[in-house]
């Protein structure tokens, strides 16, 4: 028997939502315990700040330019390389339970494999595995569509389907409405019983799959919670955990509108254009919502709901770990906890996500608790790492060589290891083209600096950029791009950024759906 792997992902969760990362709103004792016993990463970045490209990176160990999922709506080819396939080929039992999103959800033609498998084939893919997974049970943010959770709820509790927030509005745009106390977008009072909510369903199905395995099996289980991604509609029964009126405003949210707008004015144009409602560059935020209308109370309410969802995830993870313990596997299980990207959550007066490469979206929770039987030394890693490093890490845990097609490296176990193996930089990219608006962004994070270059696009001429000193300006409110005193720093970072761009997939894949 070898080491087993529980890969836990959430969706759109900020670094500072975990207690071990300094978060004070949500109670996350399970993740905090894993961090105390394992390795906590303080500078883990995604290679894309939206779901599909980022998830494809986690699966393939490749940057978005290379795996080809350059924006949401571009399906990852079914024959793309997969770490799950590598593990399965070496005897691992494999499952993906929860949110996949390697292919678009919006699929009236049912032509995307994930949706078709869920509707037509139950939990076992027709060819034995799909992307290396032998067991599939899918969920997303709402119980609508062909995925397993939606079908389960419709069958078992049809009265609850209508309890959830409609993520899309009548025009199939991301919904701008909200019916909480403050009118914040995507906040909704959901009377669904907690045990029917997708967070607990994902944990329940994970436990059921683990219970189906032989004691001697090695396994790789990707448990993928759809929360705390909007909509913020956790079960109503849980809302009393955190009264939004008691929630302090985030440090990244200047309460004074003039101050907010001055910060935005120092950034490339698309920031303020979105804030003003003049530009919608991407599908991931409500097109009808104008960020400038966001109120302090709305920020509080969104943060409260988000924290409730984080607590439910933590408790669900605790149940799964208890089930693993009951099977007698605890000493041999590696647990990796992370998310696909962050959430603006009020920073700069903004919500949701988009082409904004700042900590709100890029700094991720990442905790690796190696199998206790491997006698790990608890550590905090400050060196930059990426989600691109996860797949190689899973190979290393399984004792397998890292395939050449993976572009990351097994995660360092401490900063000395990071120094020794050259964890100097992490790259993040954004490309989007939506109804005539193109945005193209490349970012490098290195030695305490974040440097972002904008390629020519609809509102950028190629000269714009952002440069932040993460030590002196942790909230990234002072753009130093044009600071003549930092020209050599900027030039050095840009040279490194361009020297290390991953090879692009040719020909470029097409956008086939909005999301």
């Amino acid at each position: 028997m070898g080491r087993k792997i529980l890969f836990v992902t959430t969706d759109q969760q900020r670094y500072d939502t975990l207690g071990c990362n300094g978060g004070t709103l949500a109670r996350t004792p399970v993740a905090d315990r894993l961090a105390a016993d394992g390795i906590r990463y303080e500078r883990a970045h995604p290679q894309s700040v939206v779901c599909m490209p980022s998830r494809a990176t986690m699966l393939t160990g490749q940057h978005p330019a290379t795996h080809g999922v350059w924006m949401n709506g571009v399906p990852l080819p079914v024959d793309a390389p997969s770490v799950a396939a590598v593990l399965h080929d070496h005897g691992y039992r494999t499952a993906l339970i929860g949110k996949p999103h390697f292919e678009p959800f919006l699929d009236p033609f049912l032509r995307f494999t994930e949706n078709a498998i869920a509707q037509q084939h139950g939990t076992r893919p027709p060819n034995g595995t799909h992307r290396g997974f032998e067991h599939l049970e899918f969920a997303t943010h709402t119980p609508v569509g062909p995925l397993h959770y939606a079908r389960w709820l419709l069958t078992e509790h049809p009265e609850a389907v209508g309890f959830f927030y409609p993520v899309l509005d009548g025009a199939l745009q991301v919904n701008a409405a909200g019916d909480g106390d403050t009118g914040a977008p995507q906040v909704h009072v959901n009377p669904v019983p907690r045990e029917w909510y997708h967070t607990d369903w994902v944990a329940d199905r994970t436990i059921a799959w683990l219970d189906s395995l032989d004691e001697r099996d090695d396994w790789f289980c990707w448990m993928s919670f759809p929360d705390p991604h909007h909509p913020w509609d956790p079960p109503q029964s849980e809302l009393a955990r955190i009264d939004w009126r008691d929630v302090p405003l985030p440090a990244g949210y200047p309460a004074d509108a003039g101050e907010r707008e001055a910060i935005l004015e120092r950034k490339p144009r698309h920031w303020k254009l979105w804030y003003d409602g003049s530009l919608v560059s991407n599908y991931e935020a409500p097109a009808e919502w104008v960020p400038a209308t966001l109120t302090a109370d709305q920020v509080r309410e969104v943060n409260a709901r988000n924290a409730v969802e984080c607590e439910l995830i933590d408790e669900a993870l605790g149940r799964v770990l208890a089930a693993i313990d009951r099977r007698g596997w605890s000493a041999d299980v590696d647990v990796m906890f992370t998310t696909d990207h962050g959430e603006l959550q009020g920073d700069f007066g903004l919500l949701f996500k988009g082409p904004y490469h700042v900590d709100a979206l890029m700094r991720l929770p990442l905790v690796w608790r190696p199998a206790p039987a491997s006698a790990p030394s608890p550590a905090t890693v400050t060196a930059p790492v990426g989600l691109v490093d996860l797949a190689p890490t899973f190979c290393a845990i399984a004792g397998l060589p890292v395939p050449e097609w993976m572009q990351g490296k097994p995660l360092p176990v401490d900063d000395s290891d990071a120094d020794r193996r050259g964890f100097e930089r992490v790259l993040t990219e954004w490309d989007s083209e939506l109804f005539g608006v193109g945005v193209y962004v490349r970012t490098i994070t290195r030695e305490g600096w974040v440097c972002t270059a904008y390629r020519p696009g609809t509102v950028h001429d190629g000269s714009e950029g952002e440069l932040y000193d993460l030590t002196d300006d942790p909230l990234q409110q002072h753009n130093r791009w044009d600071d003549p005193g930092l020209r050599s720093v900027r030039d050095d970072l840009l040279a490194d950024l361009w020297d290390n761009q991953p090879p692009p997939r040719e020909p470029r894949l097409q956008v086939e759906a909005p999301v």
Binding site: G73, P104, R111, Y283, E512, A513, P514
Partner: protein, 132 residues
């Protein structure tokens, strides 16, 4: 702006007339458009059924074998406006360019249908060029 316009195209190394024989026949759309599982045509009315079981009504607006242009409109209440345009353009070298344009309000549907059309065109090319 509520209306969206999405265009996809593919060059197929087969004569335009041969390609038009297939895509210009409204009753054969389910043979090449991935995700459409069946269709019936009654005059200028076409009813398609998608892979998810969705039944959609369409009105055929243009079917011009000389220009090799086919146009249709989806008439379901989901759309405030829709126009689909399929052109087969002879490149006079034994190949042709097939262009599928989708205009729709809500614009999200332009990308949903246009994206599917792009995928269908790639499958069409594979089918026809593979048949050489």
């Amino acid at each position: 702006m509520a209306r969206g316009s999405v265009r996809r195209e593919v060059r197929i190394r087969r004569p335009a007339a041969e390609v038009w024989d297939l895509v210009g026949d409204p009753a054969r759309v389910h043979e090449w458009f991935t995700g459409i599982v069946s269709c019936t045509v009654d005059g200028t009315n076409r009813q398609i059924v998608t892979g998810s079981g969705l039944s959609l009504s369409e009105q055929i607006l243009t079917n011009d074998p000389i220009q090799r242009r086919f146009q249709y409109r989806m008439t379901n209440s989901l759309f405030k406006e829709h126009l689909g345009t399929l052109d087969v353009i002879d490149l006079h070298d034994g190949t042709c360019l097939v262009v599928y344009a989708t205009d729709a309000d809500p614009r999200t549907m332009a990308l949903t249908i246009g994206g599917a059309a792009g995928s269908a065109l790639l499958a069409l090319r594979e089918r026809l060029e593979g048949a050489v």
